[in-house]
Symmetry: C2
Subunit: 164 residues, 2 copies
């Protein structure tokens, strides 16, 4: 190849690379948004070690590097509830169906219904579940701190659940 042709070829190549690098190409092939389809994230029954009664968990979305909380629908059959536990980074609970109950160590029990939200701050012992009379579903949004999102404690006995 003659030197002039080589230089011309290299110039065109350099110009092309510089242009391609500076252009804001649409990012086809890279997903800009993530989609978590209903039922795709797994589900399981609440283990007897941490729950009383029948409880079902449907995972909705995982925590990520920007949003340090995960989402899950949790359904309790009548009388079912969690054990005592705390969340190192807190938890929001939004009732999506029926009426829920949540209690704290001071003996206070709050009834919350579809559309109501409870915020349990970090490191506060609580429990939550259905009333004795009907199933309840809530969406829980659970903060993650240093890889941990819950610390489980002892079961909630009937006297505590009934507020006696």
């Amino acid at each position: 190849m003659k030197p002039q042709i080589l230089i011309l070829t290299l110039s065109v190549l350099v110009a092309f690379v510089v242009h391609a690098g500076s252009e804001k190409a649409p990012e086809r092939g890279k997903d800009l948004q993530a989609v978590y389809r209903a039922g795709s994230q797994g589900s399981f029954d609440g283990p007897a070690e941490y729950f009383t009664g029948n409880v079902h968990v449907d995972l909705v979305f995982p925590a990520n590097e920007s949003a340090h909380y995960s989402g899950a629908y949790v359904t309790f059959q009548p009388g079912a509830r969690t054990a005592w536990h705390l969340h190192p980074a807190g938890q929001h609970m939004i009732v999506t169906s029926s009426v829920g109950l949540t209690g704290t160590r001071d003996g206070k029990i709050i009834e919350f219904k579809a559309g109501d939200t409870i915020w349990c701050p970090p490191d506060i012992d609580n429990w939550h579940g259905a009333t004795p009379h009907a199933p309840m579903t809530h969406l829980v949004l659970t903060g993650v701190l240093d890889g941990k999102n819950v610390i489980w404690k002892e079961k909630v006995i009937d006297e505590q659940y009934n507020g006696k």
Copy 2:
């Protein structure tokens, strides 16, 4: 009062105060959990500057010092959608009724239905709304960064909404 009786009285008083101070008294009177009742956080119609069509926003819960995201139900009538916008700390969208649409600058439009979640990462331009055929409601969980949760841009024209 005789000196012996005075000393005894003081001793009992000191013992009582020390005991009371070291005891973990239940925090009655202080609310351990926060409750946000349905409808208590305010609601408004989406302003025409930022939305096309009829859109209604029901605030659910505010961000707090531990959980840097707020929650709101947003309902779009058929054909309604947001303007282009980005969220500096990202946003989760969980469809709670019917079918939604969301688009990005690469021309990709995703259809997502009740139970599906979309994660829009920080600083990605997107829009979301109903299909042309039915109303849609989703719960949006919007991250807050340095006091900002959204940056609005231009309206989404019909060609973009229709993916043409």
